[in-house]
């Protein structure tokens, strides 16, 4: 485990109440319904690394991102950022200093930019909000620099978002996120709305910026190939829980949890022309009514009675952690996976 004290997430939980209104519940005798979107996860992120969360839709990965930035308050657990507990109540000033240091990049570059604002104002807003510029000339210089940093031109600041393509808009989102000089960026599927060639541009840009500005990323994605490419460590989520977490190479070379293996088996890769994949049966169960014990047991080929009854704990193994009874009891052999490099 690295010195993961930069960002520490402990026992983080977030439940959403999706019950019918009180009167309907009383008249129709319906119970309360609670979605356990995030059900107790622990993550440690070291400074300067990229930690990725992967999982299928509905596994709670975006909720984790929103919890970390503070868009939702957690139901339980805490998020400690550089020694500061984010859920503690504190004065306006202290909080805004912390807020300045973490920023978010959203998935959809068409929805996350205000269509009525010029690009200059979009990027200048965080600078103004945190009072980071001395005067107007300084503000213009800062925005110009930010636009150049994401490979746009200062002249683009006069335009409106609709004049840009998806990839360029995502660059604007990145420039806005960088405007408050943050150290920690939370990126929620930043490339999944983009075409592959544009995705490559954005990923390269994000990696360049990370090296240059010493940024730390929490990267949320469902695309394992992208995650493999960009991350230092990877966490795999299933139904609100972290099932496996490991350094990237370990996770992809020696995956342990059956769900991780299933995910790796299902990604179509270019090297697989004509190869038959054995698709895994079943679908992600509803988080409203998650299975007992290990939530993956209905789809798991190795499940036994213990898996149905007892929730597995995360146990350290080979530099990471795995929450699986089968691995703990050595029932499931761990094998190396091989990949062929593309010629």
């Amino acid at each position: 485990m690295p010195d993961g004290n930069y960002v520490r997430i402990e026992g983080l939980k977030r439940y959403f109440d999706v019950s019918a209104p009180w009167l309907v519940r009383k008249l129709e005798g319906k119970p309360r319904q609670i979605v356990q979107a995030v059900d107790g996860i622990d993550i440690q992120i070291a400074k300067g690394e990229t930690f990725s969360l992967v999982g299928e839709s509905g596994c709670g990965k975006s909720t984790v991102a929103r919890l970390v930035v503070g868009l939702y308050p957690p139901t339980a657990g805490k998020i400690v950022f550089d020694g500061n507990d984010m859920s503690e109540r504190r004065g306006q000033g202290a909080h805004s200093t912390l807020r300045r240091r973490l920023q978010m990049i959203f998935q959809d570059p068409f929805a996350s930019l205000n269509p009525r604002w010029r690009v200059f104002d979009i990027i200048a807003e965080p600078i103004r909000a945190f009072g980071l510029s001395k005067d107007k000339a300084d503000l213009e210089k800062q925005v110009g620099d930010l636009l150049r940093q994401v490979r746009l031109t200062p002249a683009d600041g006069r335009k409106f978002p609709h004049e840009f393509s998806g990839g360029q808009r995502q660059r604007i989102s990145i420039a806005r996120a960088l405007a408050s000089q943050p150290e920690f960026l939370i990126c929620d599927e930043p490339t999944s709305a983009l075409d592959v060639s544009v995705q490559a541009q954005i990923l390269n840009l994000m990696m360049d910026l990370q090296r240059r500005l010493k940024l730390t990323y929490l990267f949320i994605s469902h695309n394992l190939a992208v995650v493999y490419h960009i991350s230092t460590r990877v966490g795999v989520m299933y139904l609100g829980r972290l099932v496996e977490e490991a350094p990237t190479d370990t996770l992809f070379k020696r995956p342990k949890h059956p769900y991780t293996r299933m995910l790796l088996d299902t990604i179509p890769d270019l090297d697989m022309t004509g190869r038959q994949r054995a698709p895994v049966a079943g679908e992600v169960p509803s988080p409203l009514n998650p299975p007992s014990g290990c939530t993956f047991h209905p789809r798991c080929p190795f499940a036994n009675e213990r898996c149905k009854a007892e929730r597995p704990k995360a146990l350290p193994i080979e530099g990471g952690t795995v929450a699986c009874h089968g691995i703990e009891e050595n029932r499931i052999p761990i094998e190396d996976r091989s990949y062929t490099a593309r010629g």
């Binding site: 299928e56 839709s57 490979r151 746009l152 031109t153 393509s165 998806g166 990839g167 360029q168 075409d195 592959v196 060639s197 544009v198 995705q199 490559a200 541009q201 990923l203 390269n204 990696m207 469902h222 695309n223 394992l224 190939a225 992208v226 493999y228 490419h229 992809f252 299933m262 995910l263 790796l264 088996d265 299902t266 990604i267 179509p268 890769d269 270019l270 090297d271 697989m272 022309t273 004509g274 190869r275 038959q276 994949r277 698709p279 895994v280 049966a281 679908e283 992600v284 990949y339 062929t340 490099a341 593309r342 010629g343």
Partner: protein, 340 residues
């Protein structure tokens, strides 16, 4: 599986245009290809490359004001692009099935699944209501819906995304079509479900001998499903050939860049290959080769003369590199101001 029989579908010099106030936009420009019986042809390209429009033109579902401006589409030797609406309606569904991207919007939320299936079956086949229902049930079982007997009377919202897409596939198969045009059938689905749907499509094609035109932007899906692949760029086919050749040994600089920009699990590079710039808008297609401003190996000839598809090993590529005359004197690619 490629056979030597006459092609099932022939598309020749297809052009799709959109009249606008500022003149006519050519969205699909001179596209020709054919699909053999039982073959899966993948069509890839970035958004706006014209791949979906090509599919829609074939099934006769272009949204006005878009229209076929030239060329022809033949199904089993018979022209279908100039048929009157009612006749095309009989072919669509019966001979050509369609699968769209979003399974929620391609099913009617107000009708039960059985009603939608029975309606489609009875439109194209002379079956009684009970025989049609029996066929609907068989189809649902075939596409792998568990508990089909109960679920047949459910409504679309009662199915999950993957199950809905299975229902859509069952709908497309209703009348035993010869060709299925599948437009991004797995894009809205999670990877594990995506794998199930692809395996299902492949199995059904093998068993029924159905050809598939698979339109997607996901090269991975193409890699494991298609026999041949056509790469589209700015309304034209840049390269077409057997899937292995196009992926491992791309002939067009655009295809090479596209393959390089896809992160692979095989190796982890410091940087991904990227193609600078973006695809031109339809109003600003450059003269000569449409890819030339982003091309790293362009020459003077590429600026003025438009390349047609020409033989390049096992594939065909629209690039002067594969012409005896070559590209001419090299010209540096356009460096966008932004990239300076």
């Amino acid at each position: 599986m490629v056979t030597n029989n006459a092609p099932l579908l022939e598309v020749k010099n297809l052009r799709v245009e959109f009249p606008t106030r500022r003149g006519t936009l050519l969205a699909v420009d001179d596209v020709s290809f054919d699909i053999a019986p039982g073959e899966v042809l993948g069509v890839v390209g970035e958004s706006g490359a014209g791949k979906s429009l090509t599919g829609n033109a074939i099934i006769g579902l272009l949204e006005p004001p878009g229209r076929i401006a030239g060329g022809e589409v033949r199904l089993e030797g018979k022209r279908i692009d100039n048929l009157p609406y009612e006749e095309m309606r009989k072919i669509r569904g019966a001979r050509i099935g369609a699968i769209f991207q979003d399974p929620l919007t391609s099913l009617n939320p107000l009708y039960s699944v059985s009603r939608q299936l029975v309606e489609t079956i009875q439109t194209h086949m002379p079956l009684s209501a009970s025989a049609a229902r029996a066929r609907a049930l068989d189809l649902l079982k075939e596409v792998g819906i568990p508990g089909a007997e109960q679920r047949i009377d459910h409504y679309p919202h009662q199915f999950s995304g993957g199950m809905r897409q299975r229902v859509v596939i069952a709908l497309a198969l209703c009348a035993g079509p010869r060709l299925i045009v599948a437009d991004e059938p797995t894009t809205a689905l999670d990877v594990s479900i995506q794998a199930q749907i692809i395996a299902l499509l492949k199995k059904l094609c093998r068993e029924h001998g159905t050809s598939v035109m698979l339109v997607t932007h996901d090269m991975g899906v193409i890699a494991e499903t298609a026999d041949r692949v056509a790469v589209m760029y700015a309304g034209r086919i840049a390269e077409i050939g057997p899937v292995r050749d196009v992926i491992k040994n791309a002939k067009h600089p655009y295809t090479k860049g596209l393959m390089g920009s896809i992160p692979s699990l095989g190796h982890r590079a410091e940087r991904l290959t990227q193609i600078d710039g973006s695809m031109p808008r339809l109003t600003e297609i450059p003269t000569g080769c449409a890819f030339n401003p982003r091309c790293t190996v362009r020459g003077e000839r590429c600026l003025v003369e438009r390349p047609e598809l020409m033989a390049a090993d096992a594939s065909r590529a629209a690039c002067w590199l594969h012409d005896a005359g070559g590209v001419g004197t090299p010209v540096a690619p356009v460096r966008e101001m932004a990239n300076a």
